[in-house]
Structure formats: structure tokens, C-alpha cells
Symmetry: C2
Subunit: 240 residues, 2 copies
DNA sequence: TCAAACTTTGAACCATGGTTCAAAGTCTAT
DNA sequence: ATAGACTTTGAACCATGGTTCAAAGTTTGA
């Protein structure tokens, strides 16, 4: 879960850090490794930025290298290739979202609030964190071996959201519904934001999150308590 | 609007059909032109199929040619290139959806029913018609000139949906809301279906459409009439 | 300060895939 | 049947872009 960032091919540093060779002084090589990982993260963020800006397909390794301030060839010292770059972007993001979903589900809150929390987290990780890991959505570009791993986690996340809805229904807080379908509708509405959201737009991410949550939760709320869960916010457009 | 299918580069037939040259017998050359257009449509459908199967980026001209039963080079006799192929796919689909949205809005029906109609049409054109013109969603691949045209129509469509929601609110059939955001949420939920829908899955397209409509409309319905507009369907999964 | 390990470079390699083209095949009108 | 228009072919062209690599630069440990 900690996902030390170097699981796949690691030609670079950090590999032989474990190899028990009684190093007289461990702090120094630790510093090297630490720096290496930091570098990797920087590169990853740069890549995510380019992915977001140009789209995964159009993003070239040369572009990414430039954005990360290093030579094209040097990229391959830190990552095995574009696939791995994309993979880590996606993996980090989906991990965060999964965590958030499971935490929300465990929390002692009304189902509506749980869902709200998930929605907020989802948009945060999709649009803000990790330079807006929009890459999360383009799984098709990965080679089979990497892809399946992401798909699996993605499915797990979807299950978590679905479970949250089912739970709400069971508690009587949500109206009965086709939870699988609704979960997909919610996730679709959320994921689609990456198509139209612009960082310099009128609405902040949290404003968008709140607005979407209002609508998406209302469609679920059991008729009786509809107005109880949360007073529907006024119809505004550009509150910061 | 009729979009005679050959607006861009048309090196092939149909171009000089207009050239006033007093043809002794028009029916014959008409037949040729007719056949040409039919062929173009076949190719377009084949392309759409490949786009859907492999994704726009991964779909190669050679694949498309094979799917359409002709040689790679021959494709270029009917279409200027991959861009144009993708363009026509998208253009046809968005035209249909726009039509449907405007028709629905003009119809004398409760807002909830109007929205239902749009949702059904949207999914129909996205998942079924035109071999499931999933291509509709990948605008980023087109060159600037073609892309802007599609974007424009797409925006127009979004406006139509939004207007429909606003209208519902004004009539008091929908609860007040941020119509722009809700419209995007609805469209997101709909467009996202192309990521998970499988023709051989348990639910038919109309079943999915109904299910989504139930949820998406309920989130809009004014509290008072909520149960009036449509009795919420039972929670089923696989009705044909 | 020296050797080993770690980084960096950028030019070159190479597969992929969109596109072109000249030659050949087929159909239509007379 | 024949000229001319319409189709088809598939090999070759070429730009793009991911990737490799050998050599050079820098840091670390003794």
C-alpha cells in the first residue's frame, strides 16, 4: 500500500539498497536513495502535467522530459518507459481514491454524507492532486500486464462505491435502486469532469464537488428524508 | 443538415455530378453515385466498429480497411484520411443527438419526460446506432479545423440539454439547481456508459437508459411531485 | 585524491502507422 | 467493341515518437 514507487523495472538506484552489504555508513546512501525517489516523484508529476495538458496519447517522452527538465534519454534511467510512467500516475491516484472510499464507508456518518465525502475525494484526486491525474481515465494505453492491475483496483473502487450505496438503501436512507447502475452513473458524472474542468475556470473544485454532490445524492435520497439530509444549496454559479 | 456525406475532400465520385454537362442519361451515373455513397457509409460503419473495438488511437487504417473489405490504399479513394473518417463518425452522431434534443424540447411533455427522451436517444446513438459511435467522445485526435466544428455542435447539444433543465425548473417541475453543472453531470453519466457497456452484457441499452433516467431525473424532480412523474422502477438488474 | 557507483547526455535506432502512387482492373456510354 | 471514367491494388514512402546506448560528467566512500 505504501507503494514505494519502484516496484516494476528498477534499473536505477534503490534496488540494491537491501542487499545486506554491511555498509559502514548507511545514512549517506540513504540520502542518495531518498533523492532518487524524490526525483522520480518530480518526474511523475511532470508527466502527469503533460498527460493532462496534451492527453496521454499526444504526450511525447520528449515533452515529458522537457517538462521535467532533463534529457529524453535520462527519463529511462528513472522509468522503464512511457507505460510505467502512466502506470504509476494511475496507480497512485486510484490508490488514494480507494483509501478514501473505504475510509468513508467505515466512518460513522449518514450514507449521504459518506457519499459526499467520496465525491469530494474523487474530484480532488482527479482534478487537483498529482497535477490532476487525468491519466487515471486512459487505461487502454497500457500493456496487458500493467493494465490488469489497474483495472482490478478500479473495479475494487467501483465496488466500494456500490457497497456504500447498498448500505444506504439498507439503512433506509436511500431509496431502493439498481445500485450497480447508479454507482456507474455517479462515477461517470465525476470522471467526466476531467473533460470540461479548467483550473482557471469560474468554479473551484470544491464548488464543483458540492454542486455535483447535491445533485447526485438527491437522486438517491429516500423521499421522506429528502430535505433532511442537507438543505439543497441555492443555484449559484461562481462561488469561490 | 442532410450532410450529403461528402463535404470535405472528395476526390472520388459524386463531385462532378453537378457539373451541368448535359448527360444523355442521368439515371446511370446516378446509380454510380448512389453506389459510391452507399460504399462510403459501409466504410464509415466499419470504421466506427473498429474505433469502438480498439479505441480511436489504436485503430489503424489497415484494420479499418480490412474490416471494410478493401485494400488500405483504397480507403483513400473514399476518404481523405483517418481524420475525415473519424470526423464523419462523430458528426453524424452528434447531429442525431442534437436533433433528438431539440425535438424533445419542442414536444408537449412534462420536463421529466423530455429529459427521459433525450437520455434514451443519447444512449441509442452512442451505443447502438452507427455501430456504437463511441468515437463521438474522442475529439482530441482531430486536426484543429475539423475539431472546432464538432466542438461547436457538441456545445450546442449541451446547451439544449441545459435549456431543457432550465425550462423544467421554470415550470416548477424541477427543483432549482445549477443547470449547467447538472447538465454536465447527466451527460457525463451517459457518456461514461461507453466505457463499461458491452453489447453482450446483461442489460439492454433501453434497460440501461431507463435505469439511468430513473436516477438522473429523480435528482432533479421537485420534491412535491417526485412520485407523480413516474413510479420509480423496481430494483432489477437484467431485464431484457 | 582515486576508484567505483551513480547520473546525464543527445544522437541514432527502429517499429509503427498514416499516406502516396503508378499501374492495372472494371464498368459505362456510344 | 472501344475510349474514357471509375475503382482497386499493394508496395513503398516518410514522419512520428518510443527506446537504446556508449561516452562523458558528477558524486560518493576510503
Amino acid at each position: 500500500m505504501v507503494q514505494s514507487l519502484n516496484s516494476g523495472s528498477n534499473r536505477g538506484a534503490a534496488t540494491r539498497a537491501e542487499s545486506g552489504r554491511t555498509l559502514p555508513n548507511r545514512t549517506a546512501s540513504d540520502r542518495v536513495r531518498r533523492r532518487g525517489e524524490a526525483r522520480r516523484l518530480d518526474i511523475l508529476r511532470a508527466a502527469a502535467r503533460v498527460f493532462r495538458r496534451s492527453g496521454v496519447a499526444a504526450a511525447g517522452m520528449r515533452d515529458i522530459a522537457q517538462e521535467a527538465d532533463l534529457s529524453p534519454g535520462n527519463l529511462y534511467y528513472y522509468f522503464a518507459g512511457k507505460d510505467e510512467l502512466l502506470f504509476f500516475c494511475q496507480d497512485r491516484t486510484v490508490d488514494r481514491m480507494l483509501e478514501a472510499a473505504q475510509a468513508a464507508r467505515a466512518a460513522k456518518l449518514p450514507a449521504a454524507e459518506q457519499l459526499r465525502t467520496v465525491i469530494r475525494a474523487h474530484l480532488h484526486y482527479t482534478l487537483e492532486e498529482m497535477e490532476g491525474a487525468t491519466a487515471h481515465l486512459e487505461v487502454d494505453m497500457l500493456a496487458e500486464n500493467l493494465r490488469s492491475s489497474i483495472i482490478e483496483k478500479r473495479d475494487k473502487y467501483e465496488q466500494a462505491v456500490r457497497a456504500l450505496i447498498v448500505q444506504g438503501v439498507q439503512r433506509g436512507e436511500f431509496a431502493p435502486c439498481d445500485a450497480a447502475l447508479v454507482a456507474r452513473a455517479v462515477l461517470g458524472a465525476l470522471n467526466w469532469t476531467s473533460r470540461w474542468y479548467r483550473p482557471d475556470g469560474a468554479q473551484s473544485v470544491t464548488a464543483i464537488a458540492d454542486g455535483l454532490a447535491d445533485y447526485l445524492v438527491r437522486g438517491l435520497a429516500a423521499a421522506a428524508q429528502q430535505t433532511l439530509t442537507k438543505p439543497a444549496r441555492a443555484l449559484s454559479g461562481g462561488r469561490k
